[in-house]
Protein backbone atom coordinates (compact mmCIF):
# COMPACT_ATOMS: atom_id res chain seq x y z
CA UNK A 1 0.00 0.00 0.00
CA UNK A 2 1.34 3.41 -0.95
CA UNK A 3 2.34 5.44 2.08
CA UNK A 4 0.47 8.40 0.62
CA UNK A 5 -2.81 6.49 0.61
CA UNK A 6 -2.35 5.14 4.14
CA UNK A 7 -4.81 6.33 6.73
CA UNK A 8 -3.73 8.86 9.33
CA UNK A 9 -4.96 9.92 12.76
CA UNK A 10 -7.07 13.07 12.65
CA UNK A 11 -5.44 14.50 15.78
CA UNK A 12 -2.80 13.69 18.37
CA UNK A 13 -5.52 13.05 20.94
CA UNK A 14 -7.14 10.57 18.55
CA UNK A 15 -3.94 8.52 18.57
CA UNK A 16 -3.45 8.84 22.34
CA UNK A 17 -7.03 7.72 23.04
CA UNK A 18 -6.70 4.76 20.68
CA UNK A 19 -3.31 3.71 22.12
CA UNK A 20 -4.57 3.99 25.72
CA UNK A 21 -7.81 2.26 24.68
CA UNK A 22 -5.80 -0.61 23.27
CA UNK A 23 -3.63 -0.88 26.39
CA UNK A 24 -6.62 -0.73 28.75
CA UNK A 25 -8.28 -4.08 28.43
CA UNK A 26 -10.10 -6.64 30.51
CA UNK A 27 -6.84 -7.43 32.37
CA UNK A 28 -6.67 -3.94 33.90
CA UNK A 29 -9.96 -4.59 35.65
CA UNK A 30 -9.70 -8.23 36.57
CA UNK A 31 -6.00 -9.09 36.56
CA UNK A 32 -4.04 -6.13 37.94
CA UNK A 33 -5.90 -5.70 41.28
CA UNK A 34 -5.58 -9.40 42.11
CA UNK A 35 -1.93 -9.68 41.00
CA UNK A 36 -1.03 -6.57 43.03
CA UNK A 37 -2.88 -7.70 46.17
CA UNK A 38 -1.39 -11.19 46.09
CA UNK A 39 2.18 -10.01 45.42
CA UNK A 40 2.96 -7.75 48.34
CA UNK A 41 -0.02 -5.32 48.14
CA UNK A 42 1.23 -1.72 48.16
CA UNK A 43 4.84 -2.92 47.96
CA UNK A 44 4.06 -4.49 44.55
CA UNK A 45 3.65 -0.97 43.19
CA UNK A 46 7.40 -0.37 43.54
CA UNK A 47 8.49 -3.13 41.09
CA UNK A 48 5.40 -2.30 39.00
CA UNK A 49 6.48 1.33 38.47
CA UNK A 50 10.08 0.22 38.03
CA UNK A 51 8.93 -2.17 35.30
CA UNK A 52 6.88 0.58 33.68
CA UNK A 53 9.88 2.92 33.48
CA UNK A 54 12.52 0.30 32.64
CA UNK A 55 10.55 -1.84 30.15
CA UNK A 56 7.01 -0.64 29.36
CA UNK A 57 7.62 2.97 28.34
CA UNK A 58 11.01 2.29 26.63
CA UNK A 59 9.40 -0.44 24.45
CA UNK A 60 6.49 1.89 23.63
CA UNK A 61 8.92 4.62 22.54
CA UNK A 62 10.94 2.13 20.47
CA UNK A 63 7.84 0.77 18.70
CA UNK A 64 6.42 4.28 18.12
CA UNK A 65 9.76 5.45 16.64
CA UNK A 66 10.30 2.47 14.32
CA UNK A 67 6.70 2.54 13.07
CA UNK A 68 6.84 6.32 12.58
CA UNK A 69 9.99 6.04 10.47
CA UNK A 70 8.89 3.06 8.33
CA UNK A 71 5.11 3.69 8.29
CA UNK A 72 4.05 0.10 7.83
CA UNK A 73 2.28 -2.57 9.86
CA UNK A 74 4.32 -5.10 11.88
CA UNK A 75 5.38 -7.48 9.02
CA UNK A 76 6.14 -4.50 6.77
CA UNK A 77 8.24 -2.82 9.48
CA UNK A 78 10.38 -5.87 10.23
CA UNK A 79 10.63 -6.75 6.53
CA UNK A 80 11.74 -3.19 5.74
CA UNK A 81 14.61 -3.48 8.23
CA UNK A 82 15.67 -6.92 6.98
CA UNK A 83 13.71 -8.97 4.47
CA UNK A 84 14.58 -12.18 6.34
CA UNK A 85 13.01 -10.74 9.50
CA UNK A 86 9.54 -10.27 8.03
CA UNK A 87 8.44 -13.45 9.82
CA UNK A 88 8.76 -11.68 13.19
CA UNK A 89 5.96 -9.35 12.11
CA UNK A 90 3.88 -12.25 10.78
CA UNK A 91 4.46 -14.10 14.04
CA UNK A 92 3.04 -11.06 15.87
CA UNK A 93 0.09 -10.84 13.45
CA UNK A 94 -0.55 -14.58 13.99
CA UNK A 95 -0.58 -14.02 17.78
CA UNK A 96 -3.19 -11.28 17.22
CA UNK A 97 -5.30 -13.82 15.27
CA UNK A 98 -5.00 -16.27 18.17
CA UNK A 99 -6.04 -13.65 20.72
CA UNK A 100 -8.92 -12.00 18.87
CA UNK A 101 -10.96 -15.19 18.42
CA UNK A 102 -11.33 -15.73 22.17
CA UNK A 103 -11.17 -12.09 23.24
CA UNK A 104 -14.33 -11.32 21.27
CA UNK A 105 -16.09 -14.27 22.93
CA UNK A 106 -15.34 -12.70 26.34
CA UNK A 107 -16.65 -9.32 25.14
CA UNK A 108 -19.85 -11.17 24.10
CA UNK A 109 -20.15 -12.56 27.67
CA UNK A 110 -19.77 -9.05 29.12
CA UNK A 111 -22.61 -7.79 26.89
CA UNK A 112 -24.84 -10.61 28.18
CA UNK A 113 -23.95 -9.73 31.76
CA UNK A 114 -24.61 -6.05 31.04
CA UNK A 115 -28.18 -7.07 30.07
CA UNK A 116 -28.46 -9.41 33.08
CA UNK A 117 -27.51 -6.48 35.36
CA UNK A 118 -30.82 -4.68 34.79
CA UNK A 119 -32.76 -7.27 36.81
CA UNK A 120 -29.83 -9.15 38.40
CA UNK A 121 -30.77 -12.27 36.42
CA UNK A 122 -27.84 -14.24 37.86
CA UNK A 123 -29.81 -14.85 41.07
CA UNK A 124 -28.26 -15.64 44.43
CA UNK A 125 -25.93 -18.47 43.34
CA UNK A 126 -23.72 -16.55 40.91
CA UNK A 127 -21.26 -19.42 40.50
CA UNK A 128 -23.89 -21.97 39.47
CA UNK A 129 -25.50 -19.41 37.17
CA UNK A 130 -22.24 -18.62 35.33
CA UNK A 131 -20.94 -22.16 34.91
CA UNK A 132 -24.19 -24.11 34.51
CA UNK A 133 -26.99 -21.84 33.31
CA UNK A 134 -24.96 -19.37 31.25
CA UNK A 135 -22.01 -21.33 29.83
CA UNK A 136 -23.39 -24.91 30.19
CA UNK A 137 -19.81 -25.93 31.03
CA UNK A 138 -19.08 -29.56 30.18
CA UNK A 139 -17.10 -31.80 32.54
CA UNK A 140 -13.96 -31.93 30.40
CA UNK A 141 -12.12 -29.65 27.94
CA UNK A 142 -12.27 -32.47 25.41
CA UNK A 143 -16.09 -32.81 25.46
CA UNK A 144 -16.96 -29.84 23.31
CA UNK A 145 -20.72 -30.49 23.26
CA UNK A 146 -22.90 -28.05 21.35
CA UNK A 147 -22.69 -24.35 20.52
CA UNK A 148 -24.48 -22.05 22.95
CA UNK A 149 -26.98 -20.62 20.46
CA UNK A 150 -28.10 -17.87 22.86
CA UNK A 151 -24.61 -16.43 22.72
CA UNK A 152 -24.19 -16.80 18.97
CA UNK A 153 -26.12 -13.63 18.13
CA UNK A 154 -24.03 -11.58 20.57
CA UNK A 155 -20.81 -13.07 19.22
CA UNK A 156 -21.82 -12.11 15.66
CA UNK A 157 -22.81 -8.65 16.92
CA UNK A 158 -19.39 -8.05 18.53
CA UNK A 159 -17.60 -9.21 15.38
CA UNK A 160 -19.88 -6.90 13.35
CA UNK A 161 -19.06 -3.91 15.59
CA UNK A 162 -15.32 -4.57 15.23
CA UNK A 163 -15.65 -5.10 11.48
CA UNK A 164 -17.70 -1.91 11.05
CA UNK A 165 -15.19 0.21 13.02
CA UNK A 166 -12.16 -1.14 11.12
CA UNK A 167 -13.85 -0.63 7.73
CA UNK A 168 -14.44 3.00 8.76
CA UNK A 169 -10.67 3.53 8.61
CA UNK A 170 -8.26 5.16 11.04
CA UNK A 171 -9.80 8.61 11.37
CA UNK A 172 -13.40 7.73 10.52
CA UNK A 173 -13.57 4.39 12.35
CA UNK A 174 -11.00 3.63 15.07
CA UNK A 175 -10.51 7.25 16.18
CA UNK A 176 -14.25 7.96 16.41
CA UNK A 177 -14.95 4.66 18.20
CA UNK A 178 -12.29 5.41 20.82
CA UNK A 179 -13.53 8.97 21.24
CA UNK A 180 -16.90 7.43 22.20
CA UNK A 181 -15.72 4.38 24.17
CA UNK A 182 -12.97 5.97 26.28
CA UNK A 183 -14.99 8.78 27.96
CA UNK A 184 -17.81 6.27 28.63
CA UNK A 185 -15.27 3.82 30.06
CA UNK A 186 -13.95 6.46 32.45
CA UNK A 187 -17.50 7.51 33.48
CA UNK A 188 -18.43 3.87 34.21
CA UNK A 189 -15.23 3.36 36.23
CA UNK A 190 -15.91 6.55 38.21
CA UNK A 191 -19.42 5.27 39.03
CA UNK A 192 -18.09 1.93 40.33
CA UNK A 193 -15.25 3.63 42.23
CA UNK A 194 -17.56 6.16 43.88
CA UNK A 195 -20.06 3.43 44.79
CA UNK A 196 -17.23 1.25 46.12
CA UNK A 197 -15.43 3.75 48.33
CA UNK A 198 -18.65 4.97 49.97
CA UNK A 199 -19.57 1.45 51.15
CA UNK A 200 -19.00 0.35 54.75
CA UNK A 201 -16.00 -2.00 54.90
CA UNK A 202 -14.35 -0.39 51.86
CA UNK A 203 -11.36 0.66 53.96
CA UNK A 204 -10.65 -3.00 54.84
CA UNK A 205 -10.54 -3.84 51.11
CA UNK A 206 -8.28 -0.88 50.36
CA UNK A 207 -6.07 -1.82 53.29
CA UNK A 208 -5.67 -5.29 51.75
CA UNK A 209 -4.91 -3.78 48.31
CA UNK A 210 -2.47 -1.07 49.41
CA UNK A 211 -0.91 -2.38 52.65
CA UNK A 212 2.79 -2.75 51.78
CA UNK A 213 4.56 -6.00 52.58
CA UNK A 214 8.12 -4.91 51.87
CA UNK A 215 9.38 -8.42 52.60
CA UNK A 216 7.80 -9.41 49.26
CA UNK A 217 10.35 -7.25 47.42
CA UNK A 218 13.04 -9.81 48.19
CA UNK A 219 10.99 -12.49 46.36
CA UNK A 220 12.05 -12.68 42.66
CA UNK A 221 8.59 -13.97 41.65
CA UNK A 222 7.07 -10.60 42.71
CA UNK A 223 9.41 -8.77 40.31
CA UNK A 224 8.58 -11.27 37.56
CA UNK A 225 4.86 -10.72 38.22
CA UNK A 226 5.37 -6.94 37.98
CA UNK A 227 7.25 -7.19 34.66
CA UNK A 228 4.65 -9.67 33.36
CA UNK A 229 1.79 -7.34 34.31
CA UNK A 230 3.39 -4.34 32.58
CA UNK A 231 4.42 -6.35 29.52
CA UNK A 232 1.00 -7.99 28.92
CA UNK A 233 -1.04 -4.94 29.78
CA UNK A 234 0.60 -2.38 27.46
CA UNK A 235 -0.23 -4.18 24.17
CA UNK A 236 3.44 -4.17 23.19
CA UNK A 237 5.30 -6.76 21.11
CA UNK A 238 2.38 -8.18 19.19
CA UNK A 239 2.04 -5.54 16.54
CA UNK A 240 -0.63 -3.22 17.96
CA UNK A 241 1.50 -0.21 18.90
CA UNK A 242 3.60 -0.59 15.72
CA UNK A 243 0.43 -0.58 13.61
CA UNK A 244 -1.18 2.35 15.44
CA UNK A 245 2.01 4.46 15.41
CA UNK A 246 2.47 3.85 11.68
CA UNK A 247 -0.60 6.06 11.12
CA UNK A 248 0.93 9.04 12.98
CA UNK A 249 1.46 12.17 10.87
CA UNK A 250 5.01 13.37 10.11
CA UNK A 251 4.83 16.23 12.61
CA UNK A 252 4.12 14.36 15.83
CA UNK A 253 5.48 13.65 19.29
CA UNK A 254 6.96 10.27 20.17
CA UNK A 255 8.46 10.34 23.67
CA UNK A 256 5.58 12.10 25.43
CA UNK A 257 3.03 9.92 23.61
CA UNK A 258 4.86 6.89 25.04
CA UNK A 259 4.73 8.29 28.58
CA UNK A 260 1.06 9.32 28.25
CA UNK A 261 0.07 5.84 27.00
CA UNK A 262 2.03 4.01 29.71
CA UNK A 263 0.92 6.25 32.57
CA UNK A 264 -2.70 6.36 31.30
CA UNK A 265 -2.86 2.58 31.36
CA UNK A 266 -1.42 2.40 34.90
CA UNK A 267 -3.71 5.19 36.15
CA UNK A 268 -6.70 3.19 34.99
CA UNK A 269 -5.35 0.04 36.68
CA UNK A 270 -4.89 1.80 40.03
CA UNK A 271 -8.40 3.25 39.83
CA UNK A 272 -9.80 -0.19 38.94
CA UNK A 273 -7.96 -1.68 41.93
CA UNK A 274 -9.54 0.91 44.25
CA UNK A 275 -13.02 0.19 42.80
CA UNK A 276 -12.71 -3.61 42.96
CA UNK A 277 -11.13 -3.89 46.41
CA UNK A 278 -13.41 -1.37 48.11
CA UNK A 279 -16.39 -3.44 46.84
CA UNK A 280 -14.71 -6.69 47.94
CA UNK A 281 -14.05 -5.13 51.38
CA UNK A 282 -17.78 -4.48 51.70
CA UNK A 283 -18.65 -8.06 50.74
CA UNK A 284 -16.09 -9.47 53.18
CA UNK A 285 -17.63 -7.38 55.95
CA UNK A 286 -21.14 -8.59 55.01
CA UNK A 287 -20.04 -12.23 55.14
CA UNK A 288 -17.88 -11.77 58.22
CA UNK A 289 -14.78 -13.14 56.50
CA UNK A 290 -11.37 -11.67 55.58
CA UNK A 291 -10.90 -9.78 52.28
CA UNK A 292 -8.41 -12.44 51.22
CA UNK A 293 -11.16 -15.06 51.30
CA UNK A 294 -13.42 -13.18 48.89
CA UNK A 295 -10.71 -11.81 46.60
CA UNK A 296 -10.36 -13.37 43.17
CA UNK A 297 -8.94 -12.56 39.78
CA UNK A 298 -9.73 -13.20 36.13
CA UNK A 299 -13.02 -14.51 34.84
CA UNK A 300 -14.03 -15.66 38.36
CA UNK A 301 -13.83 -12.08 39.66
CA UNK A 302 -15.85 -10.57 36.81
CA UNK A 303 -18.60 -13.15 36.38
CA UNK A 304 -18.89 -14.84 39.79
CA UNK A 305 -17.54 -12.65 42.60
CA UNK A 306 -18.57 -9.22 41.30
CA UNK A 307 -22.20 -10.24 40.57
CA UNK A 308 -22.30 -11.54 44.18
CA UNK A 309 -20.96 -8.15 45.36
CA UNK A 310 -23.66 -6.42 43.28
CA UNK A 311 -26.34 -8.62 44.91
CA UNK A 312 -25.08 -7.63 48.36
CA UNK A 313 -25.03 -3.86 47.75
CA UNK A 314 -27.41 -1.81 49.94
CA UNK A 315 -28.68 0.17 46.93
CA UNK A 316 -28.07 1.07 43.27
CA UNK A 317 -27.40 -2.62 42.52
CA UNK A 318 -28.47 -2.49 38.88
CA UNK A 319 -26.69 0.79 38.20
CA UNK A 320 -23.43 -0.57 39.61
CA UNK A 321 -23.84 -3.80 37.62
CA UNK A 322 -24.58 -1.92 34.41
CA UNK A 323 -21.57 0.39 34.98
CA UNK A 324 -19.22 -2.53 35.75
CA UNK A 325 -20.17 -4.65 32.75
CA UNK A 326 -20.29 -1.63 30.42
CA UNK A 327 -16.79 -0.81 31.67
CA UNK A 328 -15.64 -4.32 30.74
CA UNK A 329 -17.43 -4.10 27.36
CA UNK A 330 -15.83 -0.78 26.39
CA UNK A 331 -12.39 -1.89 27.64
CA UNK A 332 -12.77 -5.11 25.64
CA UNK A 333 -14.01 -3.42 22.47
CA UNK A 334 -11.28 -0.78 22.38
CA UNK A 335 -8.69 -3.57 22.69
CA UNK A 336 -10.31 -5.99 20.23
CA UNK A 337 -10.50 -3.25 17.59
CA UNK A 338 -6.75 -2.68 17.91
CA UNK A 339 -6.02 -6.42 17.64
CA UNK A 340 -8.18 -6.76 14.51
CA UNK A 341 -6.44 -3.73 12.99
CA UNK A 342 -3.06 -5.51 13.27
CA UNK A 343 -4.36 -8.40 11.15
CA UNK A 344 -6.23 -6.35 8.54
CA UNK A 345 -3.44 -3.79 8.07
CA UNK A 346 -0.81 -6.56 7.67
CA UNK A 347 -2.88 -8.41 5.05
CA UNK A 348 -4.12 -5.38 3.11
CA UNK A 349 -0.58 -3.97 2.90
CA UNK A 350 0.92 -7.24 1.72
CA UNK A 351 -1.67 -8.04 -0.96
CA UNK A 352 -2.65 -4.43 -1.73
CA UNK A 353 -6.30 -5.31 -1.20
CA UNK A 354 -8.87 -2.87 0.16
CA UNK A 355 -9.30 -2.65 3.93
CA UNK A 356 -13.02 -3.34 3.53
CA UNK A 357 -12.49 -6.62 1.66
CA UNK A 358 -9.80 -7.91 4.07
CA UNK A 359 -11.77 -6.92 7.18
CA UNK A 360 -14.93 -8.69 6.02
CA UNK A 361 -13.06 -11.90 5.13
CA UNK A 362 -11.06 -11.89 8.40
CA UNK A 363 -14.21 -11.18 10.45
CA UNK A 364 -16.20 -14.01 8.85
CA UNK A 365 -13.38 -16.55 9.35
CA UNK A 366 -12.70 -15.21 12.86
CA UNK A 367 -16.37 -15.41 13.82
CA UNK A 368 -16.55 -19.06 12.72
CA UNK A 369 -13.42 -19.93 14.74
CA UNK A 370 -14.74 -17.96 17.75
CA UNK A 371 -17.72 -20.31 17.95
CA UNK A 372 -15.55 -22.94 19.64
CA UNK A 373 -15.30 -20.55 22.62
CA UNK A 374 -19.08 -20.47 23.04
CA UNK A 375 -19.31 -24.27 23.05
CA UNK A 376 -19.80 -26.23 26.27
CA UNK A 377 -16.03 -26.62 26.63
CA UNK A 378 -15.44 -22.98 25.57
CA UNK A 379 -14.36 -21.77 29.00
CA UNK A 380 -11.69 -24.47 29.35
CA UNK A 381 -10.39 -23.97 25.81
CA UNK A 382 -10.27 -20.21 26.32
CA UNK A 383 -8.35 -20.58 29.56
CA UNK A 384 -5.77 -22.95 28.02
CA UNK A 385 -5.36 -20.96 24.77
CA UNK A 386 -5.02 -17.66 26.67
CA UNK A 387 -2.39 -19.16 28.98
CA UNK A 388 -0.31 -20.64 26.17
CA UNK A 389 -0.44 -17.52 24.00
CA UNK A 390 0.55 -15.25 26.91
CA UNK A 391 3.18 -17.51 28.46
CA UNK A 392 4.89 -18.72 25.33
CA UNK A 393 3.92 -16.84 22.17
CA UNK A 394 3.80 -13.20 23.38
CA UNK A 395 6.80 -13.57 25.67
CA UNK A 396 8.83 -15.15 22.84
CA UNK A 397 7.66 -12.54 20.32
CA UNK A 398 8.68 -9.79 22.75
CA UNK A 399 12.08 -11.29 23.35
CA UNK A 400 12.77 -11.76 19.63
CA UNK A 401 11.54 -8.25 18.78
CA UNK A 402 13.66 -6.52 21.41
CA UNK A 403 16.83 -8.49 20.62
CA UNK A 404 16.33 -7.98 16.85
CA UNK A 405 15.58 -4.23 17.02
CA UNK A 406 18.33 -3.41 19.51
CA UNK A 407 20.90 -5.23 17.35
CA UNK A 408 19.74 -4.10 13.90
CA UNK A 409 19.03 -0.48 14.77
CA UNK A 410 21.48 2.13 15.97
CA UNK A 411 19.68 2.97 19.20
CA UNK A 412 21.44 6.33 19.59
CA UNK A 413 20.11 7.38 16.17
CA UNK A 414 16.58 6.19 16.98
CA UNK A 415 16.71 8.05 20.30
CA UNK A 416 17.87 11.15 18.46
CA UNK A 417 14.98 10.73 16.00
CA UNK A 418 12.47 10.42 18.86
CA UNK A 419 13.96 13.35 20.80
CA UNK A 420 13.95 15.62 17.73
CA UNK A 421 10.17 15.44 17.52
CA UNK A 422 9.20 15.30 21.18
CA UNK A 423 8.01 17.63 23.91
CA UNK A 424 10.91 16.47 26.09
CA UNK A 425 13.89 14.21 25.55
CA UNK A 426 15.11 10.85 26.80
CA UNK A 427 18.71 10.06 27.74
CA UNK A 428 21.06 7.11 27.45
CA UNK A 429 19.08 5.22 30.14
CA UNK A 430 16.66 4.34 27.33
CA UNK A 431 19.38 2.44 25.42
CA UNK A 432 20.47 0.60 28.56
CA UNK A 433 16.95 -0.51 29.51
CA UNK A 434 16.25 -1.81 25.99
CA UNK A 435 19.59 -3.47 25.40
CA UNK A 436 20.09 -5.09 28.80
CA UNK A 437 17.27 -4.75 31.36
CA UNK A 438 14.29 -5.70 29.15
CA UNK A 439 15.79 -8.74 27.34
CA UNK A 440 17.29 -10.14 30.56
CA UNK A 441 14.03 -9.79 32.49
CA UNK A 442 11.93 -11.11 29.59
CA UNK A 443 14.22 -14.15 29.36
CA UNK A 444 13.96 -14.79 33.10
CA UNK A 445 10.15 -14.40 32.93
CA UNK A 446 9.93 -16.77 29.95
CA UNK A 447 12.12 -19.48 31.54
CA UNK A 448 10.42 -19.09 34.94
CA UNK A 449 6.95 -19.56 33.40
CA UNK A 450 8.08 -22.62 31.40
CA UNK A 451 9.58 -24.08 34.59
CA UNK A 452 6.31 -23.53 36.51
CA UNK A 453 4.26 -25.13 33.70
CA UNK A 454 6.54 -28.16 33.42
CA UNK A 455 6.76 -28.78 37.14
CA UNK A 456 3.22 -27.90 38.23
CA UNK A 457 1.14 -28.24 35.04
CA UNK A 458 -1.55 -25.68 34.38
CA UNK A 459 -5.00 -25.32 35.90
CA UNK A 460 -5.32 -29.02 36.71
CA UNK A 461 -5.94 -29.86 33.03
CA UNK A 462 -4.88 -33.21 31.57
CA UNK A 463 -1.71 -33.30 29.46
CA UNK A 464 -3.83 -34.31 26.47
CA UNK A 465 -6.05 -31.21 26.78
CA UNK A 466 -3.01 -28.95 27.17
CA UNK A 467 -1.35 -30.47 24.12
CA UNK A 468 -4.50 -30.39 21.97
CA UNK A 469 -5.50 -26.79 22.67
CA UNK A 470 -2.35 -25.13 24.02
CA UNK A 471 0.11 -26.93 21.77
CA UNK A 472 -2.40 -26.74 18.92
CA UNK A 473 -2.72 -22.97 19.05
CA UNK A 474 1.07 -22.53 19.12
CA UNK A 475 1.42 -24.78 16.05
CA UNK A 476 -1.33 -22.86 14.24
CA UNK A 477 0.36 -19.53 15.04
CA UNK A 478 3.67 -20.84 13.65
CA UNK A 479 1.98 -22.25 10.52
CA UNK A 480 0.13 -18.96 9.90
CA UNK A 481 3.37 -16.98 10.26
CA UNK A 482 5.31 -19.29 7.92
CA UNK A 483 2.56 -19.34 5.25
CA UNK A 484 2.04 -15.58 5.12
CA UNK A 485 5.76 -14.90 5.29
CA UNK A 486 6.34 -17.05 2.21
CA UNK A 487 3.36 -16.13 0.03
CA UNK A 488 4.35 -13.55 -2.56
CA UNK A 489 2.75 -10.16 -1.94
CA UNK A 490 2.04 -7.15 -4.17
CA UNK A 491 5.02 -5.95 -6.25
CA UNK A 492 5.40 -2.60 -4.38
CA UNK A 493 5.35 -4.38 -1.06
CA UNK A 494 8.00 -6.92 -2.05
CA UNK A 495 10.24 -4.17 -3.48
CA UNK A 496 10.17 -2.22 -0.22
CA UNK A 497 11.63 -5.12 1.76
CA UNK A 498 15.14 -5.04 3.16
CA UNK A 499 15.70 -1.31 2.54
CA UNK A 500 16.78 -0.63 6.11
CA UNK A 501 17.00 2.83 7.65
CA UNK A 502 19.44 5.34 6.15
CA UNK A 503 19.82 7.65 9.19
CA UNK A 504 20.00 10.91 7.24
CA UNK A 505 17.58 12.77 9.51
CA UNK A 506 20.10 15.42 10.59
CA UNK A 507 20.23 16.71 7.01
CA UNK A 508 16.47 17.15 6.70
Amino acid sequence: MDSKTRGQWGSRYGFILAAIGSAIGLGNLWRFPYVAASNGGGAFLIPYFFALLSAGIPILILEFSVAHIIKKGAPGCFGHLNKHARWIGWFQAAISCGIIVYYIAIVAWTIHYFIFSFNLSWGSDTEAFFFNDFLHVSNSPLSIGGINTGMLVTLILVWAINCFVIIGGIKGGIEIANKIFMPLLIICLLIITFTGITLPGASAGLEYFFKPNFQALTDPSVWIAAYGQIFYSLSVCFGIMITYASYLPEDTDIVNNGFITGLGNCSFSIMAGIAIFSALGYMAMQQGVSVEEVSAGGIGLAFVVFPAVINALPGMNSLTGVAFFLCLTFAGLSSSISILEVITSSLSEKFDVSRKCVTIIVSIIGCIISMIFISDAGLYILDIVDHFINTYAIALAGLIEIIFLTHVLKLDKIRHYANMRSDYTIGRWWNITLKYVTPILLSIMFIFNIFIDFTQGYGGYSLKALLVYGGGVLVLIAVFAIIFDNIKGAADYEESLGQGITYDWEDK
Partner: protein, 41 residues
Protein backbone atom coordinates in the same frame (compact mmCIF):
# COMPACT_ATOMS: atom_id res chain seq x y z
CA UNK B 1 -6.53 2.10 56.97
CA UNK B 2 -2.96 1.89 58.26
CA UNK B 3 -0.42 4.68 57.61
CA UNK B 4 1.53 2.36 55.28
CA UNK B 5 -1.53 1.66 53.14
CA UNK B 6 -2.49 5.35 53.01
CA UNK B 7 1.07 6.28 52.02
CA UNK B 8 1.15 3.68 49.22
CA UNK B 9 -2.30 4.77 47.97
CA UNK B 10 -1.22 8.42 47.81
CA UNK B 11 2.11 7.43 46.22
CA UNK B 12 0.36 5.32 43.55
CA UNK B 13 -2.28 7.90 42.71
CA UNK B 14 0.22 10.79 42.57
CA UNK B 15 2.66 8.87 40.40
CA UNK B 16 0.09 7.53 37.92
CA UNK B 17 -2.65 10.14 37.70
CA UNK B 18 -0.21 12.97 38.56
CA UNK B 19 2.29 11.81 35.94
CA UNK B 20 -0.47 11.24 33.39
CA UNK B 21 -1.94 14.72 33.96
CA UNK B 22 1.53 16.31 33.81
CA UNK B 23 2.42 14.65 30.47
CA UNK B 24 -1.03 15.41 29.05
CA UNK B 25 -0.62 19.05 30.16
CA UNK B 26 2.68 19.35 28.27
CA UNK B 27 1.05 17.84 25.17
CA UNK B 28 -1.93 20.17 25.45
CA UNK B 29 0.30 23.24 25.76
CA UNK B 30 2.35 22.19 22.73
CA UNK B 31 -0.76 21.60 20.62
CA UNK B 32 -2.11 25.01 21.70
CA UNK B 33 1.13 26.73 20.65
CA UNK B 34 1.08 24.85 17.35
CA UNK B 35 -2.47 26.03 16.65
CA UNK B 36 -1.54 29.62 17.61
CA UNK B 37 1.42 29.56 15.21
CA UNK B 38 -0.84 28.27 12.44
CA UNK B 39 -3.35 31.07 13.05
CA UNK B 40 -0.56 33.70 13.03
CA UNK B 41 0.69 32.43 9.67
Amino acid sequence: MSMGAIFMAVFAILLTWGGFAFCLGIAFKKEQNKNKNKENK
